[in-house]
Amino acid sequence: MPIEMKHIKKSYGNQVVLEDFSLTIPDGGTVCLMGASGAGKTTILRILAGLTKPDEGEVVGVQGGKASMVFQEDRLLEWLDAFANVELVLGRISGGTYPAGQGIGRSAGMSDTKKSKSAKAALRDFLRLEFEAVGLCGYEGKPVSQLSGGMKRRVAIVRAICSQGGLLLLDEPFTGLDEVTKGQVIRYIKERTKGRTVVMVTHDAKDAAHLGAEIIRCGGLGNLRRMG
């Protein structure tokens, strides 16, 4: 089911950010929002995430109202390690294995059964592979406060990828990553989000191209231009 934003209006005080804004995001598609600062890109993501209520209009099609997100800031719990930050958003887990390439929540089937030791070990094994895929092998057990900016960014990306939300929102996800790491992370996102609806905000058209995303130019106040 596609996600539809219909005739959205949003203002902050006297400043109108979105006016009669409508957008259809195809189910399982990857869409990239681009535009000048202040064009309302982050507001669109916040509305999709359910964090900001539009003044007018509605959003339909977000399954169970669930999304996962990489925010502009990392928003990690600095006092926990990288493992714990990701585990936190996974909910209760059942036994079984977690092959790489599958979001745990979606593919392995969360249940309300109590965490068992083997399930926890399997989860850790799975997460180790996820961290390895973004070049964080060996850093999983380190407190986030001891990681560099780029490492924290990758932990935030792994957290969003592994969480249960059907809709994945990425707000400038590659901030602070060097070109080599960025390429690695783009491959990781592309591989792990097959069949999942992704909306990304970026200022770099190359990022969108690498992800094979449809580019949507936001000109502010509902002025949209769909690019190929």
């Binding site: 359910g50 997100m69 719990l77 249960q164």
Partner: protein, 245 residues
Amino acid sequence: MEKKRTVFCRKVVAVSVLLALWQILSMWVGKSIFLPSVFDTLTALAALAGTRGFYLSIGASFLRIAAGFALAVSAGVPFAVLAERNAQLGEILQMFMQLVKSIPVASFVILILLWVRSSRLSIVVSFLMVLPVIFTNVRGGIRQVDIKLLEMAEVFGLGSLKKVKNIYLPAIRPAFVTACSVGLGFCWKSGIAAEVIGLPPNSVGGELYKAKLYLMTPELFAWTVVIVVVSVLFEKLVMWGIRKI
């Protein structure tokens, strides 16, 4: 390791200097009734320590004041949470705490004596003195919680327990530790003051009053030393407990 030793040495030097100053001052005054010497005080303390009543008084006062402190923590934390959840209730609680903070201990003591037995007076007074400290600090701590982390929790659908454990508690902890440290000092000062006025049986405050009444200044100093030592030990114990949580 080296640092710990340095800090310990500094503390030993500080205590020695203060004791020396006390001794010099008492020698200069020359009359034990006005300012007993360190030796007089230690002699009085040793004599007191040989009696059963000494330990009974310390034990009973400790239990009463500790109970007042525990009650204040048990009430102050939920009150702070409620105040943040409901603005109107928050206003009422804030005003009540402001009122409690402004009323002198003596006024409380006289009023409370009309309601409760003197043996329970120090519990109520310690409770009332510590409650606003815990309430104000914990409420401040709740307000310090990072809104951005709460948004993250909302997006990822974290349950209430996870939010409390992983976001609220770490944010409130520093304010709670400060509140406990300040509150522990308050509860001993106010609790003993209440005992001096209420004169419950088996109490450090009652012993202080007797020492004052019969002009037994070395005993007065000895009891004061006991209060300082017990309150410091109590603070260390509570802080150790908090660190373990």
